[in-house]
């Protein structure tokens, strides 16, 4: 915001040739345009997901069973409730109740925090059993390779080492961790299958980008919360609350589609 524009608590900051109503509607329209680009951003990922789900239906089904739908459902409820409180915060701002805006936004941001904590547990579990991209992987490959007689550069090498390093020569593969979690053969096989990688690659892209949006949303709402605690909003001026809430609702909207697609649909 332009520092030349004077900010008086409760009064909208805007240049003199603009009315506050003009500025409000312009800002809101701009926000909706931005949200449109966000929809397009996620559309690409949803489209990729549709293509590969079509191609590898069985693998996608099995891979989705590796996710804990209870955690997904918890996060869905958390985001819906936080969206509700964000809407109430905007309503409170429309009534000029700064204190209520602050409290409701604090609650909303806390819900975002809960969402991220649950997400952390989900990600770390997958990390533990090796469902993540980008590391060269140990014994699973040896197991999977033993039947194939693949000898990309292994034949002349000696024994176990050849099995480990040379079996499947892939630049991108799924490790198995320390195997303390007692992976079944099927799960091990899943870890080296390219088609499962496709599922988890998309899973990380979609939920990762969404989590990034949650973090940005939390930052934006924290800032709005700070403004509210300074008594900046009134019946005449609550644009930041509304735009921040709009962004948060979009984050909720995306998750409403991600949850059934990734966790539930078989």
């Amino acid at each position: 915001m332009n520092s030349a524009v004077e900010t008086i608590p409760g009064e909208p900051p805007h240049a003199h040739h603009w009315t506050s109503v003009n500025a409000y509607h312009g800002a809101k329209l701009g926000m909706w345009l931005f949200l449109a680009t966000e929809i397009l951003l996620f559309s690409v990922l949803f489209t990729s997901f549709a293509i590969y789900r079509f191609l590898y239906l069985g693998e996608f089904h099995s891979a989705s069973l590796q996710l804990d739908w209870r955690m997904g459902a918890t996060n869905t409820a958390v985001l819906i409730i936080s969206s509700f409180t964000a809407a109430l915060a905007m309503d409170a701002a429309q009534h000029g109740n700064n204190k209520r805006v602050r409290n409701l936004l604090l609650f909303t941001v806390a819900c975002g925090g809960i969402f991220l904590v649950v997400k952390y547990f989900e990600y770390s579990h997958k990390y533990d059993i090796g469902l993540f991209p980008g590391r060269t992987c140990p014994e699973v490959h040896a197991d999977a390779a033993s039947g194939h007689g693949d000898s990309h550069h292994g034949e002349s090498d000696h024994g176990a080492k050849a099995d480990h390093g040379g079996g499947h020569h892939q630049e991108f593969c799924w490790p198995t961790g320390d195997n303390a979690l007692g992976l079944s053969d099927a799960q091990k096989e899943m870890l080296v299958s390219n088609n499962y990688k496709m599922y988890f690659g998309l899973y990380y892209c979609m939920t990762g980008l969404h989590a990034l949006h949650v973090i940005i949303g939390m930052a934006v709402l924290s800032w709005v919360c700070l403004l509210a605690s300074r008594g900046r909003f009134s019946e005449k001026y609550y644009t930041p609350v509304e735009l921040g809430a709009l962004y948060w609702h979009l984050v909720d909207l995306i998750w409403i589609y991600l949850f059934p697609l990734l966790y539930l649909v078989d």
Binding site: N22, I39, A50, F54, A77, A186, A245, H249, L261
Partner: protein, 127 residues
């Protein structure tokens, strides 16, 4: 303020619409009920509709998304240009998805990688 409003003539003579608390509350209840419904339809075996499962899940998700947009985001009270902004990306998404649904079933036999589903096989063996 009203003297400025006269020059617009496009309904922009006031700030946003104020909704009663009951609207927000009802939307919240509706969203939570629909979330439970999604889980039940997906996880309880008596509601297995085969390939229709994903269609049902997406319809429920779209109902949820619609009421979030209409009431939480006040889209219901926005003007036509905002609706255009919302529907243009959705139109593009529908176009992409539609072409995939036309294209993919016709090229299933061309795919280079065989369907290989060890987990499903294991489940089958157990049953």
């Amino acid at each position: 303020m009203s003297s400025h409003a006269d020059t617009h003539g496009d309904g922009h003579d006031e700030l946003g619409h104020i909704l009663p608390f009951s609207t927000y509350r009802n939307v919240l209840i509706g969203l939570l009920v629909l979330t439970v419904l999604t889980v039940v339809v997906a996880k309880v075996d008596t509601f297995d509709f085969g390939t229709l499962n994903i269609v049902i899940a997406m319809i429920i998700a779209s109902i949820k998304a619609s009421i979030v947009a209409l009431y939480f985001m006040h889209l219901k009270y926005e003007d036509k240009i905002t609706w255009l902004y919302v529907f243009f990306p959705l139109l593009l998404l529908a176009l992409m998805m539609g072409l995939i649904f036309i294209d993919n079933p016709l090229r299933r036999d061309d795919r280079p990688v065989e369907i290989h589903d060890p987990l499903a096989q294991q489940l089958e063996a157990l049953q």
